[in-house]
């Protein structure tokens, strides 16, 4: 093994040792070569990459949420604004890895927030599902003492921070609750849409209502705070930051005084229903409401399952539904305006043709009667509107051609805007249904209904019964078209966009959807009948409007809805000789149109024109209970 004895041999560095020393030197050279090359690679060749990583390490970009723009009424009164709140935010990635350490921290968070550890975990999981990897807001509205506690003990709360968040504040309580909609974090699916380009996970967007419709104005532009942090995520310095840009305000066409007044009037019956007050010339909506209503601020906090059920269930009459645009109702006699237009325009009858209302109409084996078995005797069309003779309109329904898809009444219903969306600046309106022979026969062929189209269907349609489905806004649009000479308006809630300083950035003047040709004779005949209905003794709503200081044209409706009590309707045009405003009111289970819907419409007009009305009689239901 040991080949030499060094002490005794002068030539001790014999070749075996020399070889081994050479090998050792070779190893030394190899080691330094490897280290130098690796150093060269890391610093010179890849240096930029690592410098970027080092900066990524130390710089944390904190998105600064922009305050959303306010929502104002037509006079600039603030309806929806922001409130700043302090919230506990958790970055799951900065929490300790699952284990006892994480559990202990969650316990500490639990003490501060008052949430159980299970709740916290649920929130984190949900947050991760909505925005994977993003920060999660655990609790809003933290008290100042807890904020100080968190800040002082930051080292014990890695991954937890106190953030300023904006919460929507509804300054007028529940007023116009159905219009605003709610805001919420943008979802992963939404981020893929072009509508939300430039947004990031965790950003807040409007999810329904005006907040959704005008989100691009309201949302503003988030800024970024660039903060230098150390390895534990503690901020050590402020770098350049880009401030957030507040969103612009939306000024609505809503008159908030009128809105509240109308909501009170509707709410006084305690029944589900809806109202619309719309400018008859340009489609701007002055008031729009639905009962029952809800507190919009409920959506600023996480909402529980039972709360949501209470807002949407049939039992509670689904307060969340905006019946003004989502209701699907037969309209009853308010539809007669359309039947009358169709009859006159198609020359099924002349305005002055006298029809003898004997109180009954026999077709085949069926006998149809007026409501309340009334007999009106010889009447022309204007009279028929005044008293709301069903038999008069039944015979028009019988006369109207309704073959194939082209029923004459159906065509006019479509022209007036029924069966299609109104194009209002709110999401989720429904289009309703105009029943046609083609529609029913197709259902019949598919086995979805028990019978094909019959003459009876047309007769039902003529008085707004049967399969007709319309919402109050559609009826308001139809009456406005009659009032304004044929402009089928595009209703709108937004008046303009304003900057934070109040400068007008954009105005909304949507053009009418179309112009329909209604002859002056038709228009004046119907307007005359509707005016007499409201203003003349014996008219269906004379009891309500008879004392009004200027003429109002209005039509009652009492719609039968299967086993439910009748639904009350009223549509008013005021003033009748110079139409400015259309008011449509419907009240489910409200009974006669004159009983519930008409008084609500009257109170809306009263408030709008600042003209107190004394009803002609205390009880608007006339003796004998005449039904229109």
């Amino acid at each position: 093994m040991y080949r030499h004895s060094p002490e005794s041999e002068p030539e001790r560095r014999t070749s075996p040792l020399a070889l081994r020393v050479s090998i050792l030197s070779g190893i030394a050279i190899a080691i330094f070569s490897v280290l130098f090359l690796r150093l060269w690679y890391v610093q010179i060749l890849e240096g930029d990459k690592y410098l970027t990583e080092a900066n990524d390490n130390r710089v944390r970009e904190i998105r600064v949420q922009a305050p959303r723009g306010d929502i104002l009424d037509r006079d600039g009164k603030v309806l929806v604004a922001n409130r700043t709140e302090l919230a506990v935010q958790v970055r799951p990635e900065d929490l300790p890895a699952p284990g006892p350490e994480r559990r202990e921290e969650l316990n500490r968070i639990s003490t501060v927030t008052g949430m159980s550890r299970r709740q916290i975990n649920t929130e984190l999981e949900e947050g991760n599902r909505a925005a994977p990897g993003g920060p999660v807001i655990l609790k809003k509205g933290l008290g100042v003492d807890k904020v100080f506690y968190l800040r002082e003990n930051q080292s014990r709360f890695p991954g937890v921070s106190v953030e300023r968040v904006f919460t929507r504040e509804y300054r007028q309580g529940t007023a116009a609750a159905h219009l605003f909609g709610n805001v919420g974090e943008v979802t992963a699916e939404q981020l893929k849409e072009p509508r939300y380009s430039g947004l990031r996970q965790g950003d807040t967007v409007g999810q329904s209502g005006i907040e959704y419709e005008y989100d691009r104005y309201l949302r503003g532009k988030a800024g970024t705070d660039r903060v230098q942090v150390d390895a534990l995520g503690r901020p050590t310095g402020q770098l350049r930051s880009k401030p957030a840009q507040a969103g612009d305000s939306i000024r609505l066409t809503i008159d908030s005084d009128l809105q509240s007044y109308a909501e009170d009037a509707l709410g006084s019956f305690g029944l589900p229903g809806a109202f619309i007050a719309m400018n008859a010339q340009d489609g701007s909506i002055l008031a729009m409401g639905s009962a029952p209503t809800f507190d919009p601020s409920i959506f600023t906090r996480p909402i529980t399952q039972s709360q949501y059920r209470a807002l949407t269930s049939r039992k509670t009459d689904a307060p969340l539904a905006n019946r003004a645009i989502q209701g699907l109702y037969p309209t009853g006699s308010v539809f007669k305006m359309i039947t009358g237009t169709a009859a006159l325009e198609h020359n099924l009858i002349e305005p002055d043709t006298i029809f003898n209302d004997t109180g009954v109409l026999k077709i085949d084996i069926q006998t149809l009667r007026n409501a309340g078995d009334a007999v009106y005797g010889p009447i022309d069309m204007s009279d028929a509107f005044k008293v709301s003779s069903d038999v008069y309109f039944y015979q028009l329904g019988l006369k109207a051609k309704a073959s194939r898809g082209h029923g004459q009444i159906q065509d006019w219903a479509r022209r007036y805007g029924l069966g299609e969306r109104t194009g209002i600046d709110l999401p989720s309106e429904v289009e309703g249904l105009i029943p046609t022979p083609a529609w029913r026969n197709r259902l019949y062929r598919e086995g979805l209904t028990d019978r094909p189209w019959t003459a009876g269907d047309n007769i039902n349609l003529a008085v707004g019964q049967g399969d007709l489905q319309a919402n109050p806004l559609q009826m308001a649009i139809a009456y406005a078209a009659l009032a304004n000479g044929g402009k089928v308006l595009r209703p709108h809630l937004a008046e303009r966009v304003e900057s934070v300083t109040g400068a007008v950035l954009e105005e909304f003047r949507p053009a009418p959807r179309r112009q329909i040709q209604i002859s002056e004779e038709t228009r004046s005949t119907i307007m005359n009948g509707l005016t007499r209905a409201a203003m003349e003794d014996g008219g269906t709503s004379y009891a309500v409007f008879g004392n009004f200081p200027f003429p109002v044209a209005g039509k009652t409706g009492t719609a039968e809805r299967g086993i439910q009590p009748d639904q009350s309707w009223y549509v008013a045009i005021a003033p009748a000789d110079n139409p400015q405003i259309v008011v449509a009111v419907t009240i489910e289970r409200g009974g006669f149109g004159a009983d519930t819907a008409a008084p609500v419409a009257a109170r809306i007009l009263e408030q709008h024109f600042k003209a107190p009305i004394t009803p002609v009689v205390a009880n608007p239901t006339r003796p004998g209970g005449v039904r229109e």
Binding site: M1, Y2, R3, H4, S5, P6, E7, P10, R12, R13, P16, L17, A18, R20, V21, S22, I23, L24, S25, I27, A28, I31, F32, V34, L35, F36, R38, L39, W40, V42, Q43, I44, E46, G47, D48, K49, Y50, L51, E53, A54, N55, N57, R58, A97, Q228, V229, D230, A231, L232, T236
Partner: protein, 399 residues
């Protein structure tokens, strides 16, 4: 062997060495060592001023003190004829075993392992000294037993002598230093002329042991000689992750730190080290601090000083007047080479995390003092060789 020569020499000119009574001093080796420790103090001054509140020079003062004591020790050892250590090999070896055992009994625990003995004003780490004692003792044993027993018996005997302290240090547990002792043993055996076949056998056994420890034991659930964290550290560099609790996190941060230094370094905007992304920055990861702060310029300069140091050591190895000196110089050179490779390699992400210090650069008294002692031994070998060469005419292999 011959007795120590008297140190009375008269030369024509007087150099610095002569003033210290050391005319045959290797000035370049000294310069490289002083340069390294000076750079260490400078780096600590730059990077650790905020580490101990109220004492910005905490590490600087202590490291400087260690350096001064180290240099004095080095000069003292350099004056002794190293050959004398052969005579007290058993004493040295016993001292080493005793010191390591002491730490197992009385040692101060740090992160679950006992490595230090608390002394007044100083926390002594016997395993550092053990490295040097092993070299000196083992080299002596090799030479003494040259003619006894069969070659296999000789090999096994030396292996046992080297691996016994290594095993004790593994128990502390201090994996890194234990491996250094194994490397020292192999290096001494190698230079002493161990047969290639024996080397192959040792290599085979080692490969089997490593495979068992890192692959088979974890996979089958058999008891592993390594603690979990040690195992993780050894294998983590193979698959880096972003888990900050993980050994590979440290390596990731270290590589980012060095890389971000680029050509000339980031100076005071060295965020990786300043913002504590990098752990153990004044000890095990000090090379990353240098890399980030001074860039390729600084890091390559430090590596060059090490290259210089190693070159002088290998040169002294060949100059040595006897095999004992050769073996000591070889053991020391191998030890330092291994430590540089593993420590710098670790900071560059090509070696596992083992807790091996960077000689003369990492903060720490035991390491600095022992490294200077080792350099003192080399100076002694150098001086003795030059004194010897006045009578003979050596032909160094390396110059």
């Amino acid at each position: 062997m011959e007795a120590a020569r008297p140190m009375t020499l008269t030369r024509g000119r007087t150099g610095i060495g002569e003033r210290f009574g050391l005319p045959y001093f290797d000035g370049i080796l000294l310069a490289a060592a002083i340069g390294l420790i000076a750079f260490s103090v400078f780096t600590l001054a730059m990077a650790t001023s905020d580490d101990v509140p109220g004492e910005p020079l905490y590490f600087v003062i202590r490291q400087s003190l260690y350096a001064i004591i180290g240099v004095i020790l080095m000069l003292a050892v350099a004056k002794i004829d190293y050959s004398r250590f052969r005579e007290i090999r058993v004493g040295l070896y016993s001292l080493m075993i005793a010191a390591i055992s002491l730490v197992l009994v009385f040692g101060a625990a740090a992160r679950g392992s006992r490595r230090w003995i608390e002394l007044p004003y100083f926390r002594f780490q016997p395993s550092e000294l053990a490295k040097l004692l092993l070299i000196v003792a083992l080299a002596a044993f090799v030479i003494e037993r040259t003619r006894r027993g069969t070659p296999i018996q000789q090999t096994l005997r030396i292996l046992a002598l080297g691996l016994a302290p290594a095993a004790l240090i593994f128990l502390q547990p201090d994996l890194g230093t234990g491996i250094v002792l194994v490397v020292i043993t192999l290096a001494v055996l190698f230079l002493a002329g161990l047969r290639w076949s024996h080397f192959a056998a040792i290599g085979g056994v080692a490969a089997l042991a490593v495979t068992f420890t890192l692959v088979i034991a974890p996979a089958t659930g058999l008891p592993s000689p390594l603690r979990n964290y040690q195992e993780d550290r050894l294998t983590a560099f193979l698959n880096p992750s972003n888990d900050p609790g993980d050994a590979s996190y440290q390596v990731n941060q270290s590589v980012i730190a060095i890389g971000s230094g680029e050509r000339t370094g980031r100076g005071d905007s060295s965020t990786q080290t300043e913002l504590q992304f990098l752990p153990e920055r004044h000890t095990d990861f000090i090379f990353a601090v240098i890399g980030e702060r001074f860039g390729f310029l600084g890091a390559a300069f430090v590596l060059s000083l090490y290259a210089l140091l190693i070159w002088r050591m290998l040169r002294i190895l060949t100059l040595s007047k006897n095999l004992y000196g050769t073996l000591i110089a070889g053991g020391i050179a191998a030890m330092l080479m291994f430590q540089i490779l593993v420590n710098v390699g670790m900071t560059l992400g090509i070696m596992p995390v083992t807790g091996i210090t960077l000689p003369l650069m990492s903060y720490g008294g035991s390491s600095v003092l022992v490294t200077f002692l080792a350099i003192g031994l080399l100076q002694s070998i150098h001086s003795q060789a030059r004194l010897d060469s006045r009578s003979r005419a050596p032909t160094p292999l390396l110059r």
